[in-house]
Symmetry: D2
Subunit: 384 residues, 4 copies
Amino acid sequence: MNRGNVMRAGVWLTGARGSVATTAVVGALALRNGLTEPTGCVTAHPELAGAALPPIAGLVFGGHDVATITLAKKAEQLATAGVLPARLVQAVATDLAEVEAELRPVPSQGTQAETAAAIVADIEAFRDRHHLDRVVVLNVASTEAALEPQPAHQSAKALAAALRQSGTVLSPSALYAYSAFSAGCSYVDFTPSAGARLPALEELAAERRLPYAGHDGKTGETLLKSVIAPMFRMRNLKVASWSGMNLLGGGDGANLTDPGANAAKSVSKQRVLGETLGYEPEGNTRIDYVADLGDFKSAWDLITFRGFLGTPMRMEFSWQGCDSALAAPLVLDLARITASAHHNGYAGPLTALAFFFKDPIGDNPDHALAAQWDELRRFVSGLR
Amino acid sequence: MNRGNVMRAGVWLTGARGSVATTAVVGALALRNGLTEPTGCVTAHPELAGAALPPIAGLVFGGHDVATITLAKKAEQLATAGVLPARLVQAVATDLAEVEAELRPVPSQGTQAETAAAIVADIEAFRDRHHLDRVVVLNVASTEAALEPQPAHQSAKALAAALRQSGTVLSPSALYAYSAFSAGCSYVDFTPSAGARLPALEELAAERRLPYAGHDGKTGETLLKSVIAPMFRMRNLKVASWSGMNLLGGGDGANLTDPGANAAKSVSKQRVLGETLGYEPEGNTRIDYVADLGDFKSAWDLITFRGFLGTPMRMEFSWQGCDSALAAPLVLDLARITASAHHNGYAGPLTALAFFFKDPIGDNPDHALAAQWDELRRFVSGLR
Amino acid sequence: MNRGNVMRAGVWLTGARGSVATTAVVGALALRNGLTEPTGCVTAHPELAGAALPPIAGLVFGGHDVATITLAKKAEQLATAGVLPARLVQAVATDLAEVEAELRPVPSQGTQAETAAAIVADIEAFRDRHHLDRVVVLNVASTEAALEPQPAHQSAKALAAALRQSGTVLSPSALYAYSAFSAGCSYVDFTPSAGARLPALEELAAERRLPYAGHDGKTGETLLKSVIAPMFRMRNLKVASWSGMNLLGGGDGANLTDPGANAAKSVSKQRVLGETLGYEPEGNTRIDYVADLGDFKSAWDLITFRGFLGTPMRMEFSWQGCDSALAAPLVLDLARITASAHHNGYAGPLTALAFFFKDPIGDNPDHALAAQWDELRRFVSGLR
Amino acid sequence: MNRGNVMRAGVWLTGARGSVATTAVVGALALRNGLTEPTGCVTAHPELAGAALPPIAGLVFGGHDVATITLAKKAEQLATAGVLPARLVQAVATDLAEVEAELRPVPSQGTQAETAAAIVADIEAFRDRHHLDRVVVLNVASTEAALEPQPAHQSAKALAAALRQSGTVLSPSALYAYSAFSAGCSYVDFTPSAGARLPALEELAAERRLPYAGHDGKTGETLLKSVIAPMFRMRNLKVASWSGMNLLGGGDGANLTDPGANAAKSVSKQRVLGETLGYEPEGNTRIDYVADLGDFKSAWDLITFRGFLGTPMRMEFSWQGCDSALAAPLVLDLARITASAHHNGYAGPLTALAFFFKDPIGDNPDHALAAQWDELRRFVSGLR
């Protein structure tokens, strides 16, 4: 096997034709060709830049998607929407066609065990074809509905048996985590979906000595919460209410018009506050779909707080971010770090990657961004 | 001398009849009487609560002011303005009258050496009268115009000689720092004024083994900058512009209609960004006086930034804070910590107190609030 | 009968112990005693000030409420919350006690016909006791759930018969409209409740030659919509989306946590846009309850729009208003104008009062504030 | 001469290669070719659409500019900046080249009388070449510094004599107004520059029976002020302070870093409030240049106001508009209406066009947008 800095790393994307994946791929190709700067890539930060990570330029991409739009077409749409510069899309057209050749339709056949086997076969063929040392399976597909608990989720053995029966035992994201581990790959969940969060899958990852990370990339309102809530806490100011309104266009927004998904996401967004402040302020986080916003997202938060002697004060913020432009560089960061962590022998949940996530794996995670940053730096600088 | 936790500490306020001082005093008296919570007091934070600091309830107050309004009248005005709860002002009326008896007009006679001697006499009499182990001289007077450099500022000896001549060698805040050190007291500058920032005064503090801290309490827009700018930096997002508009009522605002004071404050507010981000984004910080806002301050900031592949994004925040309610608890914190630092033998600039200030003393200070917090915690937990 | 300007007018408030009613009463008493200015009173506007309306100082108040808190206590609470100045509340204490003597518990006995008779008796006794020429029954009670349609709502005769049966035929607001008309009084609905909006009640008002007005006082977000939406229309700019978030404390907010009431109010708020612009922009209006806001309301709206050649643009506004302080002067305006309209022989819906309401009575009402203002001025200046 | 609806109208733009002019021309060509909608064109509003105005599709463009960039290049830059859709720029390339052939460098020779004669010659040649019935000279050049008053400004005769001397008697915009009137053309000033605002020029316009309009197109913050300030006035709410911060990129912003131009513009922006409300609220309007904003402009306004019994309330708005996309359609509207007004025999100031301007011509202009709209509709519907 190669030394860390020349390790050959691949990224298998589930949801490979979506906005985030396409932006990540076009950006990586543009970086490979020296056409852009790694703005927004945390691993390009001066304090991490010297780490022993596989270079972005060397990442090899493949993946699955239920959609059939070509990467070239999707990239063109994103250029029209102001997410990608048109000149970059044109400049990487040839490289993009090569990635296109690595994408496959989502397998779907017979039992879930058979589907998993087909997924594994696709990933292994990709790894062999490109002589990759490590492949990171990374979920950037649409948020799925919550998974109904089943007894088969409790152990690896019960799960393997259940998957061989007809019926649905695992949600798509969990089936990908299962397949990734079965193929000897690490797994990252960039969405709020179930992913590897089942005892059976945790057992499987431990058994195979494979690392995994998640959940739900932190790209907007929650990113701000992770620095503003600690500010109130450090100053011992009492947050009385924190209300948020998120307006999303794009696929993610449309998906969240489903009240179930919306509710789950809202609760998760509000929980960060309680865990950071040590008490639950009043207020809700609402999510609404506004198609006109396209790939952009607007969030407005109103925070009322009390100062000395109870004096009422308030602040508001308004965030206007492009989800893909914020998420895509983190996808590249996570691929680099997870591949290296796997190479360094880490197995199980990568809690040191909490910096990237709204809902980080682990008990009592620290949501304060600065603390997460310190932990990330320590972790990354220890990689060889 | 007593053990740290029973040390008798006094606070000599310059600007003792102003809004911040009055709020600090009323609040301390209310806390002493168990009538309120120490909201906004950093030293009451669970992680600092066990430290060896003189209790707020035991702080003894005195001070100077050029104004003649009584504390009771000022407190009543602040109650009408919604800064202090009327019931608290009434409840501490007797205690407040005791503090009133400790206030003196600002001495002003003959040479600056003679004025300093009169200041020293007032402070020493206060210390003796109350058997105080330590007195912290703390400047919460109005921001003064910048001091013209003079040769006498370069050494303690030259300064002592110059003060004995007629003419103005030191601005009021610097004369207070001189007097504090002459009286064997520590000194804290909560304003952007010169204070102890002169080689001659630094020499004097070192000679007498006295600690000092400053400058300019961080209570609003800059507090937010100190968490939001590091967020952009940690995420490697490129801040293209950061523009701020500050609308201030109250005395501080009126004072800043003076273009000189305004310009100085604006430049200092913008500098934090360059030092945090590592580059200077475009944009200015403006300050305007709006009497109708009273003791409240409104700030609006617009930040434009670039994500992956240069995608332009933006955020805005709007802050509506009560300056006195934010500053007063920090005044109490600084008094407690500085008295204890003095007691622990610290001398010279207390760089570990950067957490409290917009423009912290020291070379290349770290403006990131989380880093400042870590340093503060370490410092305070080391006090005995 | 007296001439208009010496007409004796009374106001019978349903919800007389609520925040809006208490603020209206305290304010009217303060104006009577020359202690305040009529800020926020539209009828005090220079262009209407000369109109033949009963003076605020002469209005006599009475009313019903299910709550039992005294007006004095309620006023004290409002003073603590910053809605009423404490000095005014103290200054009108005696006058307030006189109004207190005119308040009655809400009658509730046997059939709705019997309840209505008891209401009528209370109102007529009030009118007689004070020798009032006109009494305006004005609904400022909490928003009620929507009324189930019933055949008895279709004619005055059927309604009278049905009310004599056991069971609930009319919602409280509608029963008040019925009682008002039965007592020969005009009726104003300041809430979104049903009020006089039933064929049977319209018939009754026409028969008795009585005027009525409504619905839902326009005090915040919708007030802004009624000037900003016409701006976009006059400039022929295309509004693509308009999303609103309303955060309410106080009783009104708590009441709206009921999903039904919330939905009704949200739809009504959004409809104004379609009727003003001539097309329905995307977006929703959300309402959330945040107790910490007290009597204040915060609204945030994001409007995305297209300019020439489709260029996307946007605006946001944030409104921080005190519902009672905005509504109370309108209550006094409506009482004055409706009493005078009655006196001038107007009967049926007073469509010229659309200026005051979110959801004005009438077909295809013009929601543009400037047009409503012109109509109001014409109407009021025609009164004698 | 033709009937109004087939009148041939030309537009002579001063500043013809700027962002506003280029956007107006590209937009008119796109409309001529049926490629876009007249969004933002007030004369395309349903209530004005039937008026007897020369159609946009028939407008012929020419003009002067000191810049030498081609229209095609400028349009391409605007497409990159997101102001113009790239597909439209490509689609009108041939038509745009035709307009390019009608642009001339700004004449500059000998005395100002000689320069004016050269300007007149260019305009007359344009009118003859295209058999135009009417030419509107329309100023969209950069804002110029204020003009020093001179005796020659007082009469047409003195002015003509002074222009024949060496030296500068008129600023560029005023020299254009002079030239326009000398050539028998109407004149519109879309900028805050002097334009026709001199007694000598007013005399000349009256003498030649020529109409003119101005000043300073209303496209952002002032547009909002013209609906929000009347709202406060109609509701008799007391505006205590109104503070504004305008952040401008683009050429206009850079130009305003000149303190003189900035101050003039700020004062004019604040004056609207006093004239609308009937009193001067506290506060300033600030303008800052932020290159990163490009052709977009951000404004933030904070309004504090008092309701009933003095209750303090506030609102904020934030506007993110593209100056060119807002101004360009108004330029087309003004050309159409002014050409028709000229045709209908109107002479002197067109006060009925106040709807379009921040600083409308005339004594005591009504700044309320709705009133301006009514006046505009009446005026336009009277044209034949």
